[in-house]
């Protein structure tokens, strides 16, 4: 395997081996501590513009599973790992991770001291990095890295340009795609919902015209403060009329729509190991997280919103519910894939909400 380098904005250089695509790549470097489900992580659109470091030292051992995609066209910028495993191809897995990343034009680098890298990222916070071929002039590579400006129009790039259906026989649900994670669709399919996925630019009127029983604002990449104002306005209108469930970036947008401000985390948090307290049931649950931003708890107007979930490790706000409207949101991924699946019951709550509020 050919040598490759990972360089970081702060001037550090890591030498490793190539896997996946051999393209040169730029992105924010973030680490993820999940121990299973690399495929779901890599194909999650929240990683648009980001290079993912896995703390789990070996990935690739189960290849690429046809039922574990979180998006068809992943947009993460790279994968960093200690070791990539070879696999036997069989009926369930027709692709190795290496082959898959080649086809998706996503570069990977293995043989990295990922523990040292993660400890560094923990203190520097999220910084830019680049995976490159060996070059004589490293300074030039660093200049290029420092000069690169990553787009803040990420939702525009990952959201579906056109509406598409995911038919079912039950409740009529509109999903607004900010960078949709397919786990959400899987949960709705399991509950036999008739789903229409709309682009992020969907207006409240276009949603109402579909006469949904409920609306889901999906997960997605990037800074919620960069979302077009019209997304926030759409949420403000929809939440008054139709049961609404917002997840991840959707949760951040829901918070903004209800007057909260959003803080950037000093270091992004990706993993599924933090206990989440559900305030209402007083129970602990686990789910996978992927967040670079968090709702400022001071900014939550308690007259309008109830904080329903807390992360017990960093005390961050993980869930909100509107006092007057049938609307709630969670920061974490309740659809699991990957990660623990005890939070999937939030989709049942959404179903109940649609039944009681909609009355049909």
């Amino acid at each position: 395997m050919a040598d490759r380098y990972l360089i970081l904005e702060d001037g550090s250089v890591f030498k490793g081996k190539a896997f996946g695509s051999r393209a040169t790549t730029f992105g924010e470097v973030v680490f993820n501590t999940v121990m299973t489900g690399y495929q779901q992580v890599i194909t999650n659109q929240i990683y648009h513009n980001q290079i993912i470091v896995f703390s789990q030292p070996t990935i690739g051992a189960v290849g690429i599973d046809r039922s574990s995609y979180e998006s068809v066209d992943p947009t993460c910028k790279g994968v960093i790992v200690r070791d990539v495993a070879a696999v036997s191809i069989n009926r369930r897995r027709r692709l190795s991770l290496d082959e898959y990343l080649k086809r998706q034009n996503i570069p990977g680098i293995s043989g990295i001291d990922t523990r040292a890298l993660i400890k560094k990222l923990r203190s520097t916070g999220t910084i830019k990095g680049s995976i490159i071929d060996p070059v004589n002039d490293l300074e030039h590579a660093f200049d290029q890295l420092r000069a690169i400006v990553l787009t803040n129009q990420q939702v525009n790039q990952v959201s579906t340009p056109k509406a598409f259906p995911n038919p079912g026989n039950g409740k009529n649900v509109v999903v607004v795609d900010l960078g949709l994670k397919y786990g959400i669709l899987r949960q709705l399919s399991q509950r036999d919902c008739n789903v229409t996925v709309l682009p992020y630019s969907a207006t409240a009127d276009s949603i109402f015209s579909l006469d949904p029983d409920g609306v889901i604002i999906s997960t997605g990449p990037g800074n919620p403060n960069d979302l077009p104002a019209q997304v926030i306005e759409m949420i403000q209108t929809v939440q008054r009329n139709i049961p609404l469930f917002a997840i991840g970036l959707g949760h951040e947008a829901f918070a903004i729509a209800n007057g909260c401000s959003i803080n950037e985390l000093s270091s992004e948090h990706h993993g599924s190991n933090h206990p989440i307290l559900s305030v209402i049931t007083d129970e602990i649950m686990y789910a996978s997280h992927g967040q670079g931003f968090t709702v400022d708890p001071e900014s939550v107007d308690r007259n309008d919103l109830i904080v329903t979930h807390y992360d017990l490790i960093d005390r961050s706000v993980q869930g909100l519910r509107h006092r007057d409207f049938p609307a709630f949101s969670v920061q974490f991924f309740p659809d699991s894939s990957p990660g623990p699946n005890e939070a999937t019951e939030l989709f049942d709550e959404f179903m109940e909400m649609m039944t009681t509020r909609g009355g049909r």
Partner: protein, 817 residues
């Protein structure tokens, strides 16, 4: 206010170590007792393990020696007015005793409750049919099984659950094994003879899960119902080989997220329905073709799996469970290592390393035993290791195995094997299987062929094939820095490389350090995978960029641990190391420990100041010595690694204890225990040795005592080196004769320490390190106790010979009078 009598808690121990149970129960007991004693609880601990370390601890606990039988326990409960029984330390032994106590209604009569596991749960766990019912209720499948009286119903059942099935005649006239039937034709053929031997005309039929993946989940639950997964671990061998005899990897290597999460959810659900307060290990059979699972075992107590989980993740399971048992909730318990945030006991451990547990066998000493691996556990110990890849962790595990326990493997030159012999091992796994698998790859078997033959996941064969490839590169490129670097990165040891380069290991070391500049770096073991700053004291080596271990400051001593339990020294060696560490600390040293037994007493958190969980090899010891620059190094007795290090100029204080055995005195009558310090002799006591080689402290008249003393003191004049000795005496008519004087044998040390009320391990440590010791005389414990060695013959299915040498003992037990 009226004073409330503090509740009396009885902790039931597991008894002596044996095949299937190492020191993990004692290690859990130490931590529970420490936490409970510190919380002021009124504690009793009962066991018949003569190697128990509990009486040596300074914690406030009443140590009771008794048979672990229901009748002795009833007596203990009555005499001591016990209020609560804690059954989670003593493995299945304690659980079964609790079940019997419950059945005898004595718990109800005395108003005694259990702690950690309810009597209902204990009842369910001891009755598979009830357990199946409970699990069915929460939709967790167990292996379908039935009892049939006709061939037709057997066939009907088999068709319903799917072939293959296992059949076994009930109440058989002859000794019968379970027979595997792959199809209807075979089943029909096997049923007739099976019905014939059943005295009740009944046959048990069970769906066969042989070849499924075996996965172990360890979870913790508190009284509020908060629960989390601590660790998932995967067996290298599929079902069919006992998990105690399989190599185990953590984190799971070949499970998809969907499979992993379904097992995690199932384990948590089971802990919930059984209302476990504490730790619970759930074992699963996972169908590799469709990801469906069956629950095969539920252990709501400390066992080897939870011990490995704690080591592998760095999560202090026993300390957290102690606090849960003391009434705290998981939300209130903090992990001491974390440097940021709170509620960390609730953090689900994430790992950034691979941990491997590797079984060790003693077949070199039990040549008649059947070495084929099946559902009966045969390993006598285990080692574990860490690496940053599956290859590295596996190679380090193999190197951790003490050379004496790998004698059978060392003697095996795989290249001499005939093809037929090799194929036989591939189909019927046997001890040391991994060496044969490597040889098969060397001979050109493909990954998919081997996966098909062994039912071991292809992932592992890709890893083994990688090792074979690196091995070939090493053979072809002697003293090539790049090849060396790559090999070290994937876990090759200097000695292994030397073998491939056909040079001495010192030459490899010199080339590696001076020319190639390839150095070991150390990584911390902690449960957050680097997410948070975490103060850990446990490290392992790898060959990467960053080195996290900081040289210990102050007066420090390196203690060479005892590695895997092995027949002969067995758990007594761990006991001795434990006491050595404590005494070193009393003498003002910071203790740096190298050890690698996942069940080790010495891995109890808060014991050693720093732990290197590493193979005990010359290379690793030299690296650590270089890293830490200890003032002193101490080891038990003379053994291979010690002499190898001494040969390389390392100064080691060797505790003069016999690691092998006290001379096998067939006709010895007494043993006098003496110390000899700088010309001063002291007699601690006389022990009688009876015909069955059992030890009985004797009460002798003053006249006899004087006679003993005279003979013993005379003999002491011949002892030149400081130490603690066993003087073996024979009675010839009325005359006492000395037959030999030997350093105290490690396997006698715990018992002698107990009955003579001394800390001989600490004493010998102090004598060696300081050259002096102030003898304090304690009263002897009285003549109540006898002890005998425990041998593994039963488990191996072979007959115990007459006068079995002590060097084959796997444990030791107190005998009732």
């Amino acid at each position: 206010m009226a004073r409330i009598r503090s509740k009396k808690i009885l902790i039931i121990g597991a008894g002596p170590t044996q095949v299937g149970r190492d020191t993990e129960s004692e290690a859990a007991a130490i931590q529970i007792i420490k936490n409970f004693a510190e919380a002021g609880r009124n504690l009793y601990y009962v066991t018949n393990d003569a190697n128990s370390i509990i009486p040596q601890l300074k914690y406030d606990v009443e140590f009771l020696v008794d048979d672990l039988t229901v009748n002795s326990l009833i007596q203990i409960l009555r005499e001591n007015d016990i209020d609560i029984i804690l059954p989670v330390v003593g493995n299945t032994v304690a659980l079964q005793l609790c079940e019997q106590l419950n059945e005898s209604e004595v718990l109800k009569e005395l108003n005694i409750r259990t702690m950690g596991v309810t009597t209902t749960t204990i009842h369910n766990i001891n009755n598979p049919e009830l357990m199946n019912k409970v699990l069915r209720h929460i939709k967790e499948p167990t292996i379908p099984t039935t009892v049939v009286e006709t061939a037709n119903s057997a066939i009907k059942f088999a068709k319903r659950v799917g072939f293959p099935v296992l059949i076994k005649p009930i109440a058989s006239l002859t000794k019968t094994n379970r027979i595997k039937c792959d199809n209807e034709h075979q089943l029909v053929e096997m049923l007739e003879p099976a019905f014939k031997v059943s005295t009740t005309n009944q046959i048990a039929v069970e769906k066969s899960v042989v070849g499924y993946k075996e996965v172990e989940m360890t979870v913790i639950r508190d009284a509020e119902g908060s629960k989390l997964l601590i660790n998932g671990a995967e067996n290298f061998n599929p079902i069919g080989v006992h998990s105690g005899d399989s190599i185990i990897f953590s984190p799971t290597q070949t499970l998809t997220d969907i499979e992993f999460q379904s097992l995690r959810t199932a384990a948590l659900k089971i802990a919930e329905v059984l209302k476990i307060k504490g730790v619970c290990h759930v074992q699963f059979a996972l169908d590799p073709t469709d990801g469906k699972h069956f629950v095969t075992r539920v252990n709501p107590f400390f066992d080897r799996t939870s011990a490995f989980a704690a080591r592998a993740t760095g999560y202090p399971i026993a300390n957290v469970v102690s606090k849960i048992l003391l009434g705290q909730s998981l939300r209130e318990i903090e992990l001491s290592g974390v440097q940021k945030h709170d509620s960390l006991a609730l953090i689900e451990p994430a790992m950034d390393h691979v941990a491997v547990r590797f079984p060790t066998w003693s077949f070199a000493s039990f040549k008649n035993a059947d070495q084929e691996l099946n559902t009966k556990m045969k390993s006598t110990g285990a080692v574990m290791s860490f690496g940053r890849s599956a290859e590295e962790a596996l190679q380090k595990a193999i190197r951790s195995v003490d050379s004496t326990t790998t004698a059978e493997q060392a003697a095996l030159d795989e290249s001499e094997l005939s093809e037929a012999q090799l194929i036989n091992v591939l189909i019927h796994a046997r001890a040391g299987e991994v060496y044969y698998l490597l040889e098969a790859l060397r001979r050109g078997y493909t990954v998919d062929e081997l996966a098909e033959m062994t039912h071991i996941d292809a992932f592992y064969f890709y890893k083994l094939r990688h090792l074979v490839k690196l091995e070939r590169q090493l053979r072809e490129h002697h003293f090539d820095a790049d090849v060396l670097k790559e090999a070290k990165y994937f876990g090759f040891g200097d000695t292994q490389i030397a073998h491939l380069w056909e040079v001495r290991s010192d030459q490899v070391r010199e080339f590696r350090i001076k020319q190639a500049k390839v150095f070991a770096t150390y990584k911390g073991v902690e449960p957050t995978a680097g997410e948070f700053p975490y103060l850990t004291n446990t490290y392992y080596s790898t060959f990467e960029d960053e080195d996290e271990a900081i040289r210990t400051v102050g007066k420090k001593i390196l203690v060479l641990g005892t590695a895997n339990s092995q027949v002969g020294t067995n758990s007594a060696a761990e006991y001795t190391t434990f006491q050595t560490i404590k005494r070193c600390q009393d003498l003002g040293y910071k203790v740096i420990l190298i050890n690698n037994n996942p069940n080790a007493l010495t891995f109890v958190p808060d014991l050693a100041d720093k732990v290197y969980l590493e193979p005990l090899t010359v290379e690793n010891c030299l690296n650590i010595i270089h890293q830490e620059k200890p003032d002193k190094i101490v080891a038990q007795g003379k053994w291979e690694i010690v002499s190898q290090l001494v040969l390389r100029g390392v100064e080691i204080d060797q505790l003069p204890l016999s690691r092998t055995t006290r001379s096998e005195n067939i006709d010895a009558d007494y043993m006098a225990v003496v110390s000899e310090i700088n010309g001063q002799a002291n007699l601690f006591g006389i022990i009688g040795i009876n015909d069955e080689n059992m030890f009985v402290p004797i009460e002798a008249s003053p006249k006899i005592k004087r006679q003993f003393k005279a003979v013993v003191m005379e003999e002491c004049k011949n002892l030149t080196a400081n130490g603690i000795y066993s003087i073996i005496l024979r009675k010839n008519d009325d005359l006492l004769e000395v037959s030999s004087s030997v350093p105290m044998a490690i396997q006698d040390l715990p018992f002698l320490s107990y009955v003579l009320n001394q800390d001989f391990a600490g004493m010998i440590t102090e004598i060696i390190l300081t050259g002096a010791f102030q003898i304090k005389n304690y009263p002897m414990m009285g003549a109540k106790y006898r002890y005998a060695h425990v041998y593994p013959y039963d488990q191996f299915g072979i007959k115990q010979p007459q006068n079995t040498p002590f060097s084959l003992a796997i444990g030791a037990k107190f005998l009732s009078n």
